[in-house]
Subunit: 116 residues, 2 copies
DNA sequence: GACTTGTATCGTATATTTACGATCAACGAA
DNA sequence: TTCGTTGATCGTAAATATACGATACAAGTC
């Protein structure tokens, strides 16, 4: 961080920041805005299924549909998937959840936060 | 709470709870999943504009579109609006943000939480 | 009453999302 | 090589979201 920054951030700079955060938050929220995708993120964060087929088995949707949801989550940064021979192993990115919670809490200016 | 409940919650009960939480989280996330709506929630939580017209002035969209976004947020429980003479005064519901953060953190089973 | 102001709703065009069957591509096994 | 298995992608139909002008509607003001 630039030490020559003024202590108080200019108002228009703060507005720009808010806009960027609105977009980042909206993007992450959008990816999570489907029960099946929330279920997938929860499943992967819980350390449960990792292999794509296992996920498909637990979500009552067709394989093509689950694959599409996985793609949405991957593009938004919620999960990553690495090829493991003939299978693909997906796992969640916990730092995305951290960021998401941070952005959500940042909606409210005066909410108490634990020092990071 | 029923004191005769077993200490450990049955697995299928936990699955049902997760499903309900996935749906609740997805619904709140969906309402927030647009930069303009995130901006409106941020604006209202910051104690800024409250009157509908003031919100319209700050969002670079047509009045009809902003009104539609307000409706989405109201239906999801993010905001409420009360008629004040000829105007409508909107305000955020901070408890919804609290719930939202709680649901998001609940995606990860082992994340450290401060005792509520 | 007529008129203005502030907001919601209607109608509509366009874009995006959701879901699924079908198909394709990659890989390992026979 | 020829399978079978796994997962992504294609094509497509239906639903939903987004945006806006036009209009309705409600509450003041004249």
């Amino acid at each position: 961080m630039d030490p020559n920054q003024p202590i108080s951030i200019p108002l228009d700079r703060r507005a720009k920041d808010s806009e960027a955060q609105n977009e980042e938050l909206a993007k992450l929220a959008k990816a999570l805005a489907h029960p099946a995708r929330a279920a997938i993120v929860r499943l992967l964060l819980s350390g449960g299924e990792c292999v794509c087929g296992g996920i498909v088995d637990r979500i009552p949707l067709a394989q093509a549909t689950v694959s599409q949801h996985l793609k949405v989550l991957k593009e938004a940064g919620w999960i990553k998937g690495e090829v493991d021979g003939p299978r693909v192993c997906y796992c969640a990115r916990p730092e995305t959840l951290t960021r998401f919670v941070e952005l959500a809490r940042g909606l409210e200016p005066t909410m108490e936060r634990s020092p990071s």
